[in-house]
Symmetry: C2
């Protein structure tokens, strides 16, 4: 059997191998916490040499950053797919909030420890700010279209309301609220707040 | 002149001396950043011996924690005074948000670096959580009274909405929004959100 496994192992493309190592790291964080993740342990759990792990990721920080980036990319891709489907601001808020809370619920045990790690946070700072700025710009356009707010008010409102969704994500991750209830509450708090701020009901 | 200054110095009560050292530390953080604060530097700037500084604060962390605690106590005392004056939920949100944003505007350069310091944050964790829980309980009662929300919904709503105010505080500290505009926006976003969530206008 050993030659057979060996053969399968060498058949993995570099992309699939990197993916396998990241998934192993995600599992390990979920089961035993971030401190359990070492290059040695990942090599052992993946049944490959430590040298091969270093071949894909030059350091533990590089590996953890790649993992967080992958989670962030998945969230952005799913969020964009939802955004393109939405016909109204309410549908846009509903779809993107649901995606965010689902991801936080399913992957919070992987993502939150990575976000709290000072080295990973520092390495990801630029990329996360870019991502956040893009999201803000998208929502600012949608909010202005629907509620006619001036640019500065719209930017300030979207920026603060994004933190509301982030706080709901922490409650979903802690298990104090379901994805379903959290999504419904965010939609009502956000659209209700924007309606009152603009002094008008949505079109 | 030296004996005279010496005499004045020894006349300070222990309370006033501790206060003077904390104020010196706050000034230093605002002018030169948190890293500039050392026990040596504080002794020099206050014109007292390093031993006397250690007499009041056993370590730099203890001193910084006392400083953050003092800021937090001032905010709570001013917030409670506002809360007692408020006759409606809107007035309660308006008064407490204004106090919070004013403090963040005036003292953000002192408070935010302290909150970001890992040792200070760890030492203050318990006290800040207690403070936060008390604030949440107070607002939950007020929100339920005005909007008739069930307990779980009210707790979740207040918890997430507090993060909205926190986010506005960061914008005020960054100078992108004034205390006046930030207060008005928070009041409209929060009360508008709660009105829609409860399905009714306030009493």
């Amino acid at each position: 059997m050993i030659p057979d496994i060996e053969q399968k192992r060498t058949r993995l493309s570099p992309q699939a191998r990197a993916e396998q190592i990241l998934e192993q790291a995600a599992d390990l964080i979920q089961r035993e916490g971030l401190a359990a993740v070492t290059m040695e342990r990942l090599a052992r759990d993946s049944g490959i040499s430590k040298g091969l792990v270093y071949n894909y990721f030059p350091s533990r920080d590089a590996l953890l950053t790649a993992l967080l980036q992958r989670e962030q990319d998945q969230l952005r891709d799913r969020g964009m797919a939802e955004a393109l489907k939405a016909q109204t601001l309410e549908a846009l808020v509903e779809g993107t909030t649901r995606i965010y809370l689902e991801q936080t619920h399913a992957r919070g045990a992987v993502i939150l420890p990575l976000l709290e790690d000072p080295s990973v946070a520092r390495l990801m700072e630029h990329s996360r700010r870019e991502e956040r700025d893009q999201t803000i710009r998208y929502f600012v356009r949608a909010v202005r279209r629907e509620y006619g707010l001036d640019l500065v008010t719209a930017i300030t409102a979207v920026d603060t309301l994004m933190n509301l969704t982030g706080a709901m994500g922490r409650q979903v991750a802690a298990g104090t609220v379901t994805v379903e209830d959290g999504t419904a509450m965010c939609v009502q708090l956000i659209t209700g707040g924007l309606e009152k701020l603009s002094g008008k009901r949505p079109a």
